[in-house]
């Protein structure tokens, strides 16, 4: 990228229905990516540009995240900036989308509403952002609604999320009288006029708001004083005025504290009424990190997975990370974030999971569901590749380094559903659909039961599975019948038991069998761990041919797939095989047993 300091990779996360998609739509409009505004569930029936799936537009909710590139000219400095925006879904069942987005973002806008403030989902999202060390700014949306109180929301931010809010603005008017915002750094009033609030007009602070503006300006400076000695001195001398302290110093101080996740700048307005969005964009540039401001680590597969720090530099060897797969009308699209080096059209890149080399065919930048072809993408950029086959969460390098980005947290599915195509002719399409969904979404899994032949889909919740059934119907024209949802049970044991086992060799002549005995015992399983089985070989003598042992292990493992209680996977078992007869039996008996076939 030409100027990495001027680039931002940001996400927009929040509680369901708080206006993320509407806000993103406005951002696209003001950055001139789109030339008309279409509302979520709008009367024009077009739907928001970001909600490009038919289902999303109809339900008015966002299911899939989309990455979008936009250029922004800072309204104060006039500098050219670029922003990659990931619109993320708000519903818990799509948490994986949020997690995958957060993994590749450098900063985020947390949208809260002026009426409800911090809601339960905001708490979850906030926790996720903390887990990935994502600095954030808050946008208090819907200040045009009755009962809105953005300054109260800033207090909630402290009480409910334990943030240190730094109020950057106060509203001019509220509810249906909302006109604009007072910027507490500039100490000026901003109004949004014109058909879609296109014209941002700077004026003096209205007389009735001067006292309140001064009060909040004081708070802002006091907040900065905690992070800057220079500002601290000014504050101690009572010099809070707009001409007393250098604006650049205030911005730098807030920016640094925000990036360290110590404070959260608070902006406000109404996406729907086009108020405050341009100021928020300036804020994103002023206070959220650029790719070089944050540290990204990879694991070196050649060196015992030791952590290595990646350099956001176009000239370093390539390391990029596929965080999302989408299969739409354009074909297979793979979204990647370039962490280090340059990704060029025509390059050969190596899949770190499989070791396979693939060539970069088409490289595009995404604008919701439209795209622009590009020839290269530098460190810090988020772009999409065509025709690259991989699972989401795969690292690619130039092949010289064997680095893997730390794996994302992927929860195991907990609910499942038997599905059946209503029409036999649709079976082909159904398996095509399922194939694609499982590639896109690691929390969605499909299994065909060996005994019953039933197709079972597994996921994170009822809505999660609902959405895929709906998509099968719409996108693949497959009507499916579903059984009752069932939770993902497991089977285990509570005490030791002995077993005896005659192992027959399939191809051998007479005498090609071995008798074994052994013990099955409970084994603790940690949390969500996949280590649910252990095999111990205590056979010492030569009576059992060695090659029998692995197939014995395999035989047990296949038994673990479906328990005998209710046919669910068996977990937490250790199998120890010993020689037959076991030491406790009289050796005299041995020949008798081994003679029987």
């Amino acid at each position: 990228m030409k100027n990495i300091e001027k680039h931002r990779n940001i996400g927009i996360s929040a509680h369901i229905d708080s206006g993320k998609t509407t806000l993103t739509e406005r951002i696209l409009y003001f950055t001139k990516r789109i030339h008309a505004i279409h509302e979520v569930r709008g009367k024009d029936g077009v739907g928001a540009t970001m909600d490009s799936m038919e289902l999303e537009r109809e339900r008015g909710i966002t299911i899939q995240s989309a990455a979008t590139f936009a250029n922004w000219t800072h309204t104060k400095s006039g500098e050219q900036d670029s922003i990659n925006i990931i619109d993320t879904p708000g519903h818990v069942d799509f948490t994986i989308e949020v997690e995958r987005s957060l993994r590749v973002l450098d900063g985020a806008i947390l949208v809260l509403t002026g009426v409800e403030g911090v809601q339960s989902q905001s708490i979850t999202v906030d926790r996720q952002m903390k887990r990935y060390h994502v600095p954030r700014v808050v946008f208090v949306n819907k200040c045009d609604r009755s009962g809105a109180n953005p300054l109260r929301v800033a207090v909630m931010l402290k009480e409910k999320l334990n943030h240190k809010p730094c109020v950057m603005q106060i509203p001019i008017g509220l509810e249906d009288q909302l006109k604009g915002v007072v910027d507490l750094v500039e100490m000026k009033a901003y109004y949004f006029e014109g058909a879609n609030g296109d014209d941002m007009i700077e004026k003096e602070i209205p007389a009735e708001l001067v006292d309140q503006a001064n009060e909040y300006r004081t708070q802002l400076i006091d907040c900065c004083a905690d992070y800057s000695d220079e500002i601290m001195e000014k504050a101690m001398e009572g010099q809070y005025g707009v001409d007393d302290i250098d604006k650049a110093l205030i911005k730098k101080t807030i920016r640094e504290a925000t990036i360290r996740l110590e404070i959260t700048p608070v902006f406000m307005g109404s996406a729907h009424k086009n108020i405050g969005v341009q100021k928020l964009l300036d804020g994103v540039i002023d206070y959220l990190p650029c790719p070089t401001d944050v540290e990204n680590k990879a694991l070196d597969l050649d060196n015992n997975e030791a952590e290595v720090i990646l350099k956001s530099d176009d000239n370093e060897p390539l390391v990029c990370y596929a965080f999302k797969l989408v299969n739409d009308r354009y074909g297979q699209l793979t979204y990647v974030r370039v962490y280090q080096g340059t990704l060029k059209k025509g390059d050969m890149i190596t899949n770190m999971a499989t070791g396979k080399k693939v060539s970069v065919g088409r490289l595009v930048r995404m604008h919701a569901d439209e795209m622009v072809d590009i020839t290269e993408a530098g460190a810090g950029d988020i772009v999409a590749l065509f025709g690259i086959d991989c699972a989401s969460g795969t690292t690619f390098t130039d092949g010289k380094n064997h680095y893997n980005m730390t794996s994302m947290h992927v929860p195991n599915p907990v609910i499942e559903l038997v599905i059946e195509a209503k029409n036999r002719d649709d079976l082909d399409n159904m398996s095509k659909a399922l194939n694609r969904f499982t590639k896109e979404d690691p929390t969605f899994q499909v299994e065909v039961n060996k005994e019953s032949g039933e197709t079972i889909i597994k996921g994170m919740g009822e809505l999660h599975l609902d959405v895929y059934i709906e998509r099968m119907r719409r996108e693949y024209k497959v009507d499916v019948q579903t059984g009752a949802p069932q939770v993902a049970y497991r089977e285990t044991i509570t005490r030791e038991a002995k077993f005896e086992y005659t192992h027959k060799k399939q191809t051998g002549g007479s005498g090609q069998f071995a008798k074994m005995s052994g013990v099955m015992r409970p084994m603790p399983v940690e949390g969500d761990s996949d280590k649910v089985y252990n095999f111990v070989n205590s056979v010492v003598g030569g009576r059992i041919p060695k090659e029998y042992i692995p197939s014995c292990d395999k035989g047990f493992q296949s038994c673990m797939e479906a328990g005998s209680l209710i046919g669910f996977p068996v977990v937490g078992i250790e199998m120890e095989v010993q020689e037959w007869p076991s030491a406790k039996l009289s050796p005299r008996l041995a020949p008798r047993f081994s003679n029987r076939s």
């Binding site: 089977e491 044991i493 077993f499 409970p522 949390g527």
Partner: protein, 112 residues
Amino acid sequence: MAFREAFAKAGAQILEPIMKVEIATPTEFQGNVVGNVSQRRGTITGTNEELGTTTITAEVPLSEMFGYATDLRSMTQGKAEFTMEFCKYSPVPRNIQEELIKKYGDKVNQRG
């Protein structure tokens, strides 16, 4: 086969996913919400009251959470919210284990 026989002798047990559920409700409905969680075999692990909103955390078997969104809405005039995430696997109570085994047996028999 050896595995199945041993499994039957080893005190086989069914485990179910338990969810960590977080419910934020206006405090006036706290009693109803807590009572309902208990009916769903849930255990309350914490409550916290702040500004008229009570946040209840509980561990509830996922199998008891079907239709919870609707129930919670009607219990609280739509004013409460909840989120849940996977927490752990725990043994199901004996009577439920027997029920599940019987249902599975019926299904297998039906198939012939």
